[in-house]
């Protein structure tokens, strides 16, 4: 083996870099360069001299951390972040709870119609977020909604689903509808990879399906729960499409509803790309800090579990 490797060593050594060249070039052009440019812009601002007329009147100058201190004091950005926090506190537990429940049900014995229901629950994954928000948006309109229709027939008051507190539920429902199926598949896949022998002894001892689910299945799929939790948090922080799509249907979603909408609004609505760049950098930093913190915590837990297992 060593002789063949050394004979062709140049070709073999260079090959992986050749295969990775397209990805590297694309990464440099469409990831690294834009990120670097955004960070650069976040430290810049425009100084307007005189009346701001004429070609030399607007000049880009160094701003230091000025854009960052402004962004941190911006109450709109803070409120957007708090709204997304509230929204995430509904979406993540409900979506993952349902995904786990459905995955366990699919994995249970003697369940009927499993292929059909699995496909049906996964189906929203194929529906664009914009279209999902649009469908639900119409279903929330009092004149169209079956909920309002039913409440009306019962003589009960019909809450406005697109305002105040219910708006959070309305938006959260769109995300739950769209994301449950994908997470269900991820959890279900790891459930199926548990060898059957693991359950046999428990079943012989007369454990009920519920006990098997709680004491064997859920602990064994914990790694995939961690993974889905992590990706759900990231997706929640980035919510943009759904509130943007609901905007034309209601006045209570403002242009800075979520932090990313605020970034978009500052960049293209107010044409202040410098402020937008600083806000974007802050959001990216928070995302990265959360991700690494979370992954480290998950790793530490794993190691502790392994060492405890060794002691036992």
């Amino acid at each position: 083996m060593s002789s063949s490797t050394s004979r062709r060593s140049y070709g073999v050594k260079g090959a992986p870099y050749g295969f990775l060249l397209p990805a590297t070039v694309l990464f440099a052009l469409f990831f690294a360069l834009p990120i670097g440019y955004a960070v650069w812009l976040s430290f810049r601002k425009v100084r307007v001299s005189g009346l701001g007329l004429g070609s030399g009147a607007r000049k880009e100058v160094w701003a230091g951390f000025g854009n960052y201190t402004e962004a941190l004091q911006d109450s709109e950005l803070l409120h957007g972040a708090l709204r997304v926090l509230g929204y995430g506190c509904i979406v993540v537990p409900v979506m993952l709870g349902l995904a786990l429940l459905f995955a366990l049900m699919l994995d249970s014995e003697k369940v009927r119609l499993a292929p059909f229901t699995r496909l049906a629950i996964f189906l929203p994954y194929a529906v664009p977020g914009v279209v999902a928000a649009l469908l639900w948006g119409f279903l929330y309109l009092p004149d169209v909604s079956p909920f309002s229709f039913a409440l009306d027939k019962l003589g009960l008051p019909q809450p406005d689903l697109l305002d105040g507190g219910p708006l959070y539920l309305a938006l959260a429902n769109i995300a739950v509808w769209g994301g449950t199926g994908f997470n269900m598949i991820v959890i279900y896949t790891s459930l199926r990879s548990i060898p059957a022998e693991v359950y046999e002894a428990a079943k012989l001892d007369g454990a009920t399906p519920l006990q098997i689910a709680l004491r064997i299945k859920i602990p064994m799929v914990a790694p995939s729960l961690v993974l889905t939790f992590f990706f759900s948090i990231i997706a929640t922080l980035q919510v943009f499409n759904e509130p943007t799509t609901l905007k034309p249907l209601t006045n209570s979603v403002d242009t800075a509803w979520s932090p990313l909408m605020k970034v978009y609004q500052d960049a293209f609505g107010r044409n202040d790309i410098y402020a937008a760049a600083a806000e974007a950098t802050l959001i990216a930093l928070v995302t990265l800090l959360l991700s690494f913190g979370f992954l480290r915590a998950a790793n530490r837990r794993n190691k502790r579990d392994v060492s405890q297992g060794g002691v036992r």
Partner: protein, 301 residues
Amino acid sequence: MSTLTVRKAAPAAGTTPGTAQGPPLRRRIALVPTATLLLGAVYTLMPVAWVVIASTKSGRELFSTFTFLPGTGFADNLKDLDAYRDGVYWTWMGNSALYAGLGALLSTAVSAFSGYALATYRFRGRETMFNVLLAGVLMPPVILAIPQYLLLAKAGLTDSYLSVLLPQILSPYGVYLARIYASAAVPADVVEAGRMDGAGEWRIFTRIALPMMIPGMVTVFLFQFVAIWNNFLLPYIMLSDDEKFPLTLGLYTLLEQGSNTPALYTLVITGAFLAVLPLIALFLVIQRFWSLDLLSGAVKS
């Protein structure tokens, strides 16, 4: 270790032996799981059923008849949608197919190259490159898209097909899946045997490794196709000429105009119905070949 876990669960279970011999019906069909899953399916299918029904309603029926009562205006709605701005809707659909089809094809190729290299070669900087590529997943799309827009504007490329196509070719998730799949599906000794026979590295990849990677690459293609077809933000930022819009952006602008002219609502709904159809059809046809397991990174070697 697993038997230990089981034995721990057993004593509590042993106290209720009666449940194991429940009524015969409950033993043949698991009622609770089946009912739960059916409820879930009703929830997920409800909006889809609604859009199918609503697309048959005329503008007046939409706001006056019961939600799930079919209307009489499907043919008219189709005709109106077709007539809207000289059939721009079909241009949007064609654009979506172009962005998603070509983009996913290129993306799969790049992922296959990278995944193969990361899985089969040992070289300096391998893990660093992999981790840096993966970190791309964490970048919020808006945060990338705005500087991408500003940079493409400097190159005079905004508001073009390329401005939507190019930024979506590199998919960190695609590279990740391709690496996992290649390391499971392409045995190292097969690659080594190819080298013994004097085949070049490119030849080994195209003739030996790539055919073994095909099932995984189908998954990467479909995943990326759905991601690009569903993307809204990037075209929203890059494009202003509605002849280049994909469906998502086109429908959004229709909805936006609809808030002033509710007559457009029926067009939005019919358009949404037709936009969902191709992907659902795609799903039903290919779900046999699509290994969903791979989406979660699970590979059977």
